[in-house]
């Protein structure tokens, strides 16, 4: 069941996430709620998915039990702020961030790990 009201495709299962990161070179997944720290990140992703064809953008509901694959990821240990944002390169976590990120912060990660 989808829980997030955004235009970004919402991943609903851990298997679906695994399939996506296996089949795509560059993937950004924002795992959050419909809250004030998460919505600005979704908004930036909505814009960026029109600009960056080399990256696939997805959301995942933090309260979805299947999102434990993100919540319990080693890269998210110590995270204490929503959203948890994951950047996957060739199926592996290239970067993970916690809490709100602005456009410059997101694009700097995209540039560094995925290229322009």
């Amino acid at each position: 069941m989808k829980l997030l009201q955004t235009t970004i495709h919402e991943i609903e299962t851990a298997d679906e996430l695994q399939k996506i990161i296996n089949e795509n070179e560059n993937v950004m997944v924002c795992c959050g709620r419909m809250g004030p720290m998460c919505i600005p990140v979704y908004d930036e992703m909505e814009e960026l998915q029109e600009e960056r064809e080399n990256v696939k953008f997805y959301s995942m509901a933090f309260d979805n039990p299947e999102a434990s694959i993100v919540r319990n990821a080693p890269e998210c240990q110590g995270f204490m702020g929503l959203p948890f944002t994951m950047y996957y390169k060739n199926g592996k976590v290239a970067k993970a961030t916690s809490s709100i990120q602005n456009r410059e912060q997101i694009t700097s990660v995209l540039d560094e790990h995925f290229g322009n």
């Binding site: 419909m34 809250g35 004030p36 720290m37 995270f79 204490m80 702020g81 929503l82």
Partner: protein, 306 residues
């Protein structure tokens, strides 16, 4: 390439979207140029319970409805842009974006809004999301059975401190003054909560930790006495700053960099109006921003007709 409009609105918070609704409905060719998130501070409000005529709703939902309303009347919204240059003095107003696009209009409404003020002390960026938060509703459950500090003395600080007692074992409010700016009911509720204590006339000086936040340094301002305190989390609610840096010197502002307007939201520069959290005023609410935006749009419409 130059896009021509009757009216340009800078900013898409409550004031800007409202101005967009009124101006577009008045058949003015209107564009909103927005550097931040559509909805502005409204989006950062978890719950809006006092917007007349609307039952308790989420800030982002109210913002989304306003955005849809503005678009339904034909208002164009250009979001996530970066403005490079303003030209507001001449009759024809011009805005140039960093990507080279140019927009012109015969009138401009400035609604750049504000942003949460940060402490700007060592470690703040490093521990964001690793112990430092700006939203109790979002991150409160990460601090279940832990001790946290709330920084600030306004309504947000005291209300969020009370909300955090649902998770934390203890909430300490650190405030720079010996009294609070919050409404009396918010102060009373915080003071009556047994999990909350108060560290008055004090400011944080630094954050420390290994990976996650572990310790803060607090200075008692009158005595200059510095103490370290172990802590699991910090929530910062110390007000807002107007987003007026880029238009400084182009419109009259006060010493706090807030735009000075008259009752019709005129800035004193012909054809330039302003509204919302960036103008000099006492109360900053969604309702006051909406009212300002309405007046600015009606004034701009009258200016353009004449």
């Amino acid at each position: 390439m130059e896009e021509k409009y009757d009216l340009m609105i800078i900013g898409a918070g409550a004031a800007g979207l409202t101005a967009g609704i009124y101006a577009s409905r008045a058949k003015l060719k209107t564009v909103i140029l927005n550097e931040g998130v559509v909805g502005g501070q409204m989006v950062l409000t978890e719950e809006v319970a006092n917007y007349p005529g609307v039952e308790t709703t989420k800030g982002y939902m109210l913002a989304n409805t306003m955005k849809k309303q503005a678009k339904s009347f034909g208002c164009k919204i250009k979001s996530n842009i970066k403005i490079k240059e303003y030209s507001l003095e001449n009759k024809l107003k011009k805005v140039t974006l960093e990507d080279g696009r140019k927009f012109t209009a015969n009138a401009v409404i400035l609604t750049p809004g504000g942003r949460p003020r940060s402490l700007n002390i060592p470690g703040e960026d490093q521990f964001k999301g690793r112990g430092i938060s700006y939203c109790a509703t979002c991150d409160g459950d990460f601090f279940t059975d832990k001790e946290v500090i709330v920084v600030g003395g306004g309504n947000s600080a005291l209300e969020e401190a009370v909300a955090l007692t649902n998770f934390a074992t203890k909430v300490s409010i650190v405030h720079q003054f010996d009294h609070f700016q919050a409404f009396e009911h918010a102060v009373k509720e915080a003071k009556e909560n047994p999990k909350i204590d108060f560290i008055m006339e004090s400011e944080l000086r630094s954050f420390e930790g290994n990976g996650n936040l572990e310790k803060v340094t607090i200075e008692h301002i009158p005595s200059k006495n510095i103490t370290d305190r172990k802590i699991d989390g910090i929530f910062i609610f110390i007000g807002y700053l107007p987003n007026t840096e880029s238009i400084k010197g182009r419109v009259p502002m006060n010493e706090r960099n807030e735009i000075i307007v008259d009752g019709d939201m005129k800035t004193g520069i012909e054809g330039v109006f302003a509204a919302g959290d960036s103008i000099a005023k006492r109360y900053r609410q969604v309702t006051t921003a909406v009212a300002d935006g309405t007046i600015a749009a009606l004034s701009a419409s009258e200016y353009l007709r004449n």
